[in-house]
């Protein structure tokens, strides 16, 4: 007796060649079977797609940003001009006021005021007007004495 052969025939496969194929087709899903390599590359493609999607998104956003950056630069230039004009106007008023106050020796002089950014947001014109009005008021407050003096002299 060949010991190899006794063990060999123990697991009897139930199939016979002719019956097998139909049963097999029932079990297997109709989708075409992908090889593992194809499947692997398919999964990797999710990451590749994601990278491409992100790149595309970034490109679109960058184009948008580039436009905005250009527009903002324009506006910054304008604001910067305006700020210079405002500063210049303020200096002129200030110098004029300092000159007029020169004779008021009792008055403790102060340096040029610092910008106060905490003011409520209003159109710049209002603030400029307010500055003009304040200057006018200062001028008026100084001018009355001169008038009186003239009257007294008269």
């Amino acid at each position: 007796m060949n010991p190899m052969m006794t063990t060999m025939f123990d697991p009897v496969p139930p199939q016979r060649g002719s019956e097998q194929p139909p049963r097999r087709t029932e079990e297997v899903a109709p989708a075409p079977a992908l090889s593992a390599v194809e499947r692997y590359k398919e999964i990797i493609a999710i990451a590749t797609d994601a990278a491409a999607r992100q790149r595309k998104l970034d490109e679109v956003r960058c184009a948008e940003l580039a436009q905005r950056i250009a527009a903002t630069q324009q506006r910054i230039a304008e604001v910067s001009d305006r700020e210079r004009v405002v500063r210049m106007g303020a200096h002129l008023h200030w110098e004029s006021a300092v000159e007029q106050l020169w004779n008021e020796r009792w008055l403790q002089m102060v340096p040029f005021p610092k910008a106060d950014e905490s003011v409520p947001p209003r159109p710049q014109g209002e603030y400029l007007k307010a500055m003009d009005v304040a200057y006018q008021a200062l001028e008026d407050s100084l001018a009355k004495r001169t008038l009186l003096r003239r009257k007294q002299k008269d």
């Binding site: 190899m4 052969m5 025939f9 593992a36 990797i44 405002v86 106050l101």
Partner: protein
Amino acid sequence: MSRRDDRRRRIEDSFAEFQRAVSAALGSVAREHRALATEHAKDLVEFTVRGTGIDRALRDSALTDVTPFLTVDEKRIGNPRQAPLSMAEFQDRLAQIRHDWQQSYHEWTTTGPDQLTELVNSVARGPASWPYESWLGHPGTHDGSEGVPELWRIGTGEVVSAPEAAPFPVAVPLLDQSHLHISSTPDSRQLADGLVESLLLRVLSHFQPGLVHVHVWDVGQLTGSLPGLYPLTRANLLTVHDPARLHELLDELSEHIRQVHTKVLVDGHLTVRSVSGEGRRTEPWRIAVLFGNRKALREEHQQQLQRVARNGLACGVQLFIVDIPITVNSPVETVVLRSDGSATCTMTGKDVRVTLDPAFPRTLVPRACAAIAEKREERRSRMGTFGDLLPDRPWTESSAAGVIAPVGFDDGEQVCVQLGDTSPHALVGGPSGSGKTNFLYAMLGSLCARYSPDELELYLLDFKEGVSFAQFAPGRKDPSWLPHARLVGVNVNTDREFGVALLKFLADEMRRRADAAKQHEVTKLEHLRAEDPGGRWPRIVAVIDEFQYLFGERDQVTAAATQLLEDVARRGRSQGIHLVLSSQDVSGIEGFWGKSAIFEQFTVRIALPKARRVLAEPQNDAAVELPRWHAVINHESGVKPGNEICRVPDSTAKGTMDFLQNELWRREPGQAPGLFDGSKVPLLDALPDFSDLRPGDASPTVLLGQVIDVAGSAARVRFARTPGRNIAVIGSVVQDAAAVLGGAAASLGRQHHPRGARFTLACLVDEAEPSAQHLSKRLRADGHEAEVIYLDGIREVLDETAKDLQAIGKGETDAPLTSHYLVLYGVDAAQTLLEQKDPATRASGVDSLRTVLKHGPENRTHVLGWWRGVQRLKASLPPGVYDDIGAWVAFDVQGKELLSLGPEQVMSWSPRPRRGLFFDRFEHSRPQVIIPFDTGEA
């Protein structure tokens, strides 16, 4: 308050108000400016980050880190610069970018790495992907029947641009699927060596030792590449090639591919894998590792390498090409190693950074290889028993494209015989004692264990006592049979007609298959099986041992055999009918040498020691020096390059083929094979043709003996009511004659209802008496009247019967309703007696006999007579007129003497023991050889 004070206060107030107004005007515009500037800065940062790519920006030190060097101003204000990406102002923008990033990668992050891990785990189990601890040092067990792991792990990958670092396994396809190309830099070459070694170990440890052979060629060094694998050389599993002789390796691989194409890839198979199907891998893989130095190969080497690459995968040749620039038009995966040790590979694309697995521990690798080599050696020395020829599970293979069976071993590897469309028939040669029987048993055992009886049928015939196929048919000692055997012919010796009958049967079957194929509009059995999956179309292998006997004489048997053999040999291939002819005698083969048309079809040549003329001599003399128990298997019509020498295991010892037969028989016995044993006498009562006889037919059938055909059918004569329906048995031996007469009368008895027929048994020679008595008893048992008369009564019976017949002829009486059969033993013994004339009528007994012979059959009176010679028969008949004897069986009579009774073919008849020549002039164009029955008399 004075007016002056009042004025001063007003001035102070208005001045303060003025200051506030100036502050406000300046503040308002400054704020607007700053807000715009901030927005601008944010845009710029976002633009920079997105432009660079978030993943790269986050790794960019200019954006994420603060330089330790401070400017003078920064030192002064003690407020060091902040890194842009850590500044609070930009956090919202950064958050948005991150959100987009995560969204883009959402699917990958949530499923990608997990799916890859799962995939690799499922298709690359064991050494193909697991950590070395679990397998290194344990030789593999897979024989290829469970397929090849589709992926083999090389390292860990990470998508660098993804928001979350999630590592996953990186694996490449190898064997049968794709070559591997590795390119490294001088700094990373060591990593490349490690990668090659790891992959080789994974492959070598997955499969049974011996299924993978490694060839190494290194342009730089003769020894030293892959030092850990050196123990494999001991078992011939590793071959290191000379750096200067790349062409030798490439030639070897090309030759191997050529051999696989001619020997293995037959019957339309494109790859070794499809040939092996689900079974054990028959052809080992060869992995060729080529280490270059980043310089292109010489043009001719490059071209040859491309050819090997193109055709190699299908033939099990796998290339690992390291640092050789190549352009290949075949599947190849590439791993590119950078100087920093990171890698990219074509499996994962440019977005993935691959970190190769660390090389296996230096000490374990040689040990693992030594274990593989040892196992291989052990296997090589162990392989070689009959049991090793058999598959693990029987009857699992399909014979659609052909049959393949290992018959022996060469260096531990199985050597197969293949019968299919391109190698349709086999010729086996070897003088007596060379192990021909053993070889045939090994082949049959191997075939039967692989293919079920629905896939393979066997027709086995041996002409001489040499090989015995008797054990494949049920016997007295062993009731089992080989389920595949449909016909077993043993001791055929002089019954060459049986060989012709087998060939005729095969030719008919071939035509039947061709017709079926035509109906399905295909030409080959393989396609017919595909078109008609429900049909039963097994391949047929017919083995004829000592086939030269078929052509032993110059007669019509030889002529018929030659014609049929040619037919089957030429056209059997596409109908799945394969012949295996074996001969111990050179002359048997030489007799055919002239008929090259037949022998061209026998492309499979198997030469046993000292066999001559089987291989293409004199160029191929491999059989001359073949040691005992060996065989040359050649699938290329015997030319030298086709030689495969193998050792054939003992397949005739007890516990080998007989054990297998018993196992298969118990598994599914099927129908017992037809047995034709030339030394045995067919038993009348066991014959289906006899037991099928029933009363009721107006023209009863007489069975005279067994015809030599595949079905073992009976020789028959119809007793119609027409003239000439008498039977003569001619011969001197009572045993033969009594067997024919007994069988004939017994078969007639079965076809009449009790008392439906009258038998007169005339025992005219003494030695016939036991037979007559036995027959009489048998007929009486059937309910018939069976009178035994002797010499003294014969005259009276004949005269009376003749008188009755004459009366009917003259219209004086009606024809009798009951049949009357005159069974006459040794008619010629009564000749003298019968010749005496009746003094009154001047008529003799011979006249009465002639009347009975002439007018009996149309009136249901038939003579079944035995004459002891042709001349004696003729004496009983009218001179020159012999047509009252319509059928005859001749035994020990020379053919020449029979010429007047039958066609010219009877000339070639020469008497042989227990065989008769049967001719029925109403039905036959040529006589048939028959074997008389054993009527159970003895």
